[in-house]
């Protein structure tokens, strides 16, 4: 009986190689040949599964989204809306090796998307979904009395996502410790929560 080939696993192996090359040298460098070398397979095999570099990039960005969603899901089950928001925000930060790979390859996707309308559209769609998810959690928190009732929740969602996005470069360079970055995130969340003393909650 011939050995069963797991095509999904092979695709995934190649897609992960794209992410590693992109993280190290950008997506410009992720040619079929380089990706094949990184994945330890033949160029022919890469071409068998992916008709073009665009197809390869598209698949790799899907993997990146999966990894992000897995990271959010792997956080402890949130007991409050703020815990849930915190899990989303922290999933953006390069706090370990896997997070670093994701942040760097995500940056490479962003750079390519600047000149690729199709990829830009996907990027935008993903971004809108995340803003909507954080806004919804904030709305629920306001309704439940967890968050301050005067919040412009959509604006706050954008601002929270901007903070974590802006912390990424300093974390990648090691200019900012993980501990300090987490403190900034918690500080921002604390300032949004309802409490008898807002200025204390913000500490």
């Amino acid at each position: 009986m011939p050995r069963q080939v797991d095509h999904d696993e092979r695709r995934r192996l190649i897609g992960e190689a794209v992410l590693r090359v992109a993280a190290e040298r950008g997506l410009e460098a992720a040619s079929m040949r380089e990706v094949a070398t990184e994945a330890g397979v033949s160029v022919g095999l890469v071409q068998h599964y992916f008709a073009s570099k665009d197809a390869l990039v598209l698949f790799a960005t899907g993997l990146l989204r999966e990894r992000f969603e897995r990271r959010v899901a792997s956080a402890a089950a949130p007991s409050t809306q703020f815990d849930g928001i915190r899990a989303v925000l922290l999933a953006f930060l390069p706090l370990d090796g896997a997070g670093r790979l994701e942040a760097l390859s995500g940056m490479a996707v962003f750079i390519r998307a600047l000149n690729d309308p199709g990829l830009a559209g996907r990027y935008r769609y993903g971004r809108e979904r995340i803003v909507a998810a954080v806004t919804e959690r904030l709305d629920t928190a306001v309704a439940a009395g967890e968050a301050r009732e005067d919040l412009d929740t959509e604006l706050e969602a954008h601002a929270l996502l901007a903070v974590v996005g802006g912390l990424v470069p300093d974390l990648l360079f090691g200019h900012l410790s993980s501990e300090r970055a987490l403190r900034i995130v918690d500080h921002r969340l604390g300032a949004l929560s309802a409490g008898p003393d807002v200025s204390m909650a913000a500490r």
Copy 2:
């Protein structure tokens, strides 16, 4: 009498060409040849002024810093510490064509710095100077009763700079309007200012 050659102006012309190439296609693409073409000069002239690509990149990053400082200085003379901080924060945002060029070429420098310790050191130095400047302004604002006295000013400086850094991608893609981005910055600054009603000041 031979025509006087303005060497500084020629260097600057070449350096500006580096920034344009970097903004469009990244610093990988900024070879001596590409830069010469972009600047409309010969490769020999570029090589006459810059011994290596590293020298070229270093000079271009200096230009970028100059442009940033000019942008901060060109804001209306700040009447309060918060106005001064706002001018620094806004100088990071791609709110016009020049700002877009600076944000994109700054991103290209950042990408290169990830694999270039010398450039990373300069990047870090610049970052530390800006964090220190914003922290100092916040400290002065606290002392003057302009800002809330319970602020961890260095943490807030990092958080403010993270917000503007994180707004850049959404502005570049046009996912976020300039108006909305400015509202987020003002909202953040409002939340730090001393006032009879913090929640109102934050609106």
